[in-house]
């Protein structure tokens, strides 16, 4: 079996990217606009767009890295684990990774809730977060493989987010071109 046959079709990779692009961009825009009140004090409107371009390029990187990592994972694991139901399994894991990453942003605050001794609390809290990731991800992957309902739900989700996610990715690419133009040309 050739190496290329271990990877999913390109269209499925693109669909996976569209699936994870939505939560990644919703998070990015939410955080960006939550800081807008601070930015307007010091930057003009065009300068704020300039900063947004950096945010969007990094969101594009997020999408590519996450979709790429899941594709690579599917290629490395036995076909029955992920590759046979690539879109459902990888999208489900991708979405869970986004949710988990959003929760992980609060790890420091969780650690401080338990004790002010950060050196003691951090390793435990981080270990618990990592454990939670796998406790959900592994059964999730199994569910995506075995449940036709999950497969249908994921497919329906991708159908519905395609246009919005595509728009997000288009703006990311536009931002990338702007930054290349400003910095490398």
């Amino acid at each position: 079996m050739g190496l290329s046959s271990r990877f999913p079709p390109r269209v499925e990779y693109l669909q996976l990217a569209l699936a994870v692009a939505l939560p990644i961009h919703i998070w990015a825009y939410l955080q960006f606009f939550s800081q807008a009140s601070s930015l307007v004090l010091r930057l003009t409107f065009l300068e704020i767009l300039h900063v947004l371009a950096y945010v969007l390029v990094s969101s594009l990187l997020d999408v590519l890295v996450l979709a790429g990592a899941l594709t690579l994972l599917a290629a490395m694991l036995p076909a029955r684990v992920m590759r046979n139901h690539f879109l459902a399994a990888s999208s489900l894991i991708g979405l869970w990774t986004c949710i988990w990453a959003a929760l992980f942003q609060f790890a420091d605050r969780v650690a401080i809730l338990f004790t002010k001794n950060a050196a003691f609390a951090y390793p435990i809290v981080l270990a618990v977060f990592i454990l939670i990731y796998f406790v959900v991800a592994l059964p999730g992957m199994n569910l995506a493989r075995s449940s036709s309902l999950i497969q249908k739900l994921v497919s329906a989700y991708i159908d519905r987010v395609t246009i919005l996610s595509g728009l997000f990715l288009l703006l990311d690419l536009l931002s990338l071109l702007i930054l290349i133009g400003l910095n490398l040309v």
Partner: protein
């Protein structure tokens, strides 16, 4: 044999005429050939409070080297920062204008773009054609990038050239540093408690930062038991390396007869967090801590034992900085650099560790935060000169222009320093402004202005919800600790308030 960066720098220093760590751009090297008068070193230590320096009478012996070196310097005893944090203070120093003019009002901000040509480097270009700068501080680098845009003759060394690891994104996108800095700041988990915009990559970045902290703590445990010094962007550095680099740079200029060269070096220590080298951790343990003062209405609720502990660490860190300054001058003395170099040593702002407050991003502009050191060594000066008149950071640019024989700029708000050719006006008003909560593009309606005039200091808080129109006034000649508020009882205090309010109104006029 493996040679580490520090040893490499020392070898370079010994070679004397060796190349600087980073080669200047070809254009800058061409310019270096033009001979002129003495070279100039503008050396800024971030967050260096004069109120914590034994040179200025502090109870702990924090600056023995500067006391010794001041025997050949002009020492300014009542020198004030233009702002209370890096952006505002540094911009005042380098533009000769107060924050209400340059508008570098916010943390990580920049000055108004149309004003970026009004800077020290451009103003001194005819005298100092070979100009270099280095800073550990990304906030200062934002300003320097702006000045370089207006004056390409200024060569900026990247921050990572003197750090033990790189900062990343902002250096890569070097043509628009400020926006890349903001992009990096809000993409990564750098500004707690603000969450990063970057959802996925911020997670491995978080673990990478943890790895870096642990790695450098292990490598440098012997020298720095409290951890390696770190800047506000999470980048580690060793002060000694920067000192070696300055020495090497000036030795190179000395060897190459590159007279008419200028270096602006803005080093991060003694900015918090405090990381004194091991030998300084023994200091000040038995000494009396500074006198406790009552909490301010803008208290951050730090308890006194925490503040005492931080003050001791800060003093130890200052002692480390002082020792490194002493080492730099010893290197300079060996190679004769002092004979043809003007050295200006100052800070961008001070540090407040009292009244429940720790830091400098506070609206509370007491002396430890606004009163900063200023020492100037001129070639051939053999005796110490003490100046007790109040002076400001905005005076440094006109003074250096005066030294260079240039006409003073029309846009500056300072004057030539007294004792160095400037007027000796005891009744001049000196200002420090805190106005972070305002737009860079609009009138200043919320903030704190401190005004030093003669022996008195007025602090006026305006626009703060719940604390609007609060005023304090102190006679520093009898109340240096600023404990006895003369306002509103004193007529003079009321007059000073009127003057400060009139000044705010005047500077706001263009934005009304």
């Amino acid at each position: 044999m493996r040679i580490n960066r520090r040893e490499f720098l020392k070898i370079l220093g010994l070679l004397g005429g060796a190349l600087p760590l980073i080669r200047p751009r070809p254009q800058a090297r061409l310019n270096a050939a033009t001979p002129g008068g003495p070279n100039l070193l503008l050396l800024v230590f971030d967050t260096f409070s004069a109120e914590h320096m034994s040179l200025y009478g502090y109870g702990r012996k924090t600056t023995p080297q500067l006391e010794r070196l001041s025997a050949r310097a002009t020492v300014f005893h009542e020198h004030y920062a233009g702002g209370n944090f890096t952006t505002a203070g540094t911009a005042s120093l380098l533009t000769g204008t107060y924050p209400w003019t340059h508008r570098g009002l916010q943390l990580s901000g920049s000055i108004l773009n149309p004003l970026k040509g009004n800077n020290l480097f451009a103003a001194l270009a005819s005298k100092y054609q070979f100009q270099q700068s280095y800073t550990h501080n990304p906030l200062a680098q934002i300003l320097l990038e702006q000045f370089r845009d207006a004056h390409p003759g200024l060569y900026l060394h990247p921050i990572h050239s003197l750090t033990v690891d790189d900062d990343r994104l902002a250096d890569f996108f070097k043509n628009d540093y400020e926006y890349a800095y903001w992009g990096e700041l809000i993409n990564r988990r750098l500004a707690e408690p603000v969450l990063p915009t970057n959802l996925i990559l911020s997670v491995p970045d978080y673990f990478f930062q943890l790895y870096r902290v642990m790695r450098y703590a292990r490598i440098y445990r012997e020298q720095f038991p409290h951890g390696l010094p770190i800047n506000s962007n999470g980048t580690f550095f060793v002060l000694d390396e920067a000192i070696d680099w300055i020495s090497t740079l000036f030795n190179t200029w000395q060897g190459g007869h590159a007279a008419g060269s200028l270096a602006y070096v803005h080093l991060f220590p003694p900015h918090e967090s405090y990381h004194p080298r091991r030998e300084f951790l023994q200091l000040f343990q038995d000494a009396q801590p500074p006198i406790a003062k009552p909490p301010h209405f803008f208290t951050e609720n730090y308890d006194q034992s925490f503040l005492d502990n931080q003050a001791t660490l800060y003093d130890q860190y200052i002692a480390y900085v002082d020792a490194e300054i002493g080492r730099l001058f010893a290197l300079f003395e060996q190679t004769g650099v002092l004979e043809n170099t003007i050295i200006v040593l100052t800070s961008d702002h001070g540090q407040l560790i009292e009244r429940g407050i720790h830091g400098h991003s506070t609206p509370v502009l007491y002396e430890p935060l606004t009163h900063i050191p200023l020492l100037i060594w001129q070639p051939g000066q053999q005796t110490r000169k003490d100046i007790y008149l109040p002076t400001s950071a905005v005076d440094i640019l006109p003074t250096l222009m005066h030294f260079s024989g240039n006409a003073l700029p029309t846009w500056g708000e300072g004057q030539v320093l007294p004792g160095l050719g400037g007027p000796e006006n005891a009744d001049r008003s000196i200002f420090t402004l805190e106005a972070k909560l305002n737009s860079k593009f609009k009138a200043i309606t919320i903030g704190t202005v401190a005004m030093r005039k003669g022996e008195h200091k007025l602090i006026h808080y305006f626009g703060y919800p719940g604390f609007d129109d609060q005023t304090e006034c102190f006679d520093l000649s009898v109340d240096p600790g600023e404990l006895n508020n003369l306002y509103p009882a004193s007529i003079l205090a009321r007059q000073l308030k009127e003057e400060a309010l009139a000044k705010i109104e005047t500077v706001n006029t263009p934005y009304r």
